[in-house]
Symmetry: C2
Subunit: 148 residues, 2 copies
DNA sequence: CTACAAGCTCAACTTAACTTGAGGTCAAGC
DNA sequence: GCTTGACCTCAAGTTAAGTTGAGCTTGTAG
């Protein structure tokens, strides 16, 4: 059997492990694209599988669909992304990912390291600060105002 | 000024950087505890700051409140957790955290590494499988049925 | 002692990320 | 040529994680 060129939504669902409804949803949000058959059914090109895989992995580590959408902006609309295209995306995410990795490591190892801080002041807690997206000027109140 | 022994909800909010409403919410979900003054106001012991810090960090890396709640089960109810108590929690999370760390690294480095897979079959994509919580028997369909 | 910022409760609203359901169409096998 | 499973759209429902607001109480600074 010659390799199938285009995938139906059901095939993508099975192969990617996400529900059809989720694929519709991702498409509505502009995360994936399809074209339609004469009968109005979706057909996906193969690279949708990579996109979906990345969506799921990224979500699992706490990146929102909005963030993923933004990262995906760097990918070309019409042609299948090349190695270089994916590289750009990966680079765009690098800082955020590095930060999350180090937070995770702290959570994994640092829970114990942190024990010494006593959390007298959260501002000094290595768990929260040190790599924080906030430059460490200002009180918790400032954080409260600025964050989110 | 002698160090304050107990914290009001507002003080915890400022020091931890989370809204008062969120603290109420965490308490309702059993993530933190307080006792009340004669006037029915919440008073927190200092270790609530560590709890909150951990809640936020854990959330940021994609752990749900439900997961955090579960992890917190290992902490003692009545006394302030000791170093050893926190260690137990940290250990309980280790696998999950290790897995997330490696997924993040893959996202960071592996986006490129993965380029070769072509995603002909998502089952073979190193991004999703390899460390997957699913033993790699069975198709995507199985995953679809089993997962979540 | 009184003003008023800080607390309290409880219900309702919000946003993200989907899922479910109703009602109708498409296409591959018998 | 029809039946049946896969698709389609669109609206409404769901869960998580909070936030907002109304109406009422507390406690501290002047």
């Amino acid at each position: 059997m010659a390799p199938v060129r285009e995938l139906t939504v059901g095939q993508v669902a099975v192969r990617s492990g996400v529900a059809v409804s989720a694929l519709h949803f991702y498409e509505a949000r502009g995360l994936i694209r399809s074209h339609r058959t004469s009968g109005n059914q979706r057909r996906y090109s193969r690279d949708v599988l990579r996109r979906v895989a990345i969506i799921r992995v990224a979500q699992e580590v706490g990146i929102s669909l909005a963030g993923i959408t933004q990262a995906f902006q760097s990918l070309p609309e019409e042609r299948t992304p090349t190695r270089e295209d994916w590289n750009v995306l990966s680079t765009a995410w690098r800082d955020e990912l590095d930060q999350k990795i180090s937070q995770l490591k702290k959570l994994r190892d640092g829970l114990t390291d942190c024990i010494g801080c006593g959390c007298m002041s959260i501002d000094k807690c290595p768990l929260r600060n040190k790599e924080d997206r906030l430059s460490a000027q200002g009180s918790g109140a400032r954080r409260l105002l600025v964050e989110r």
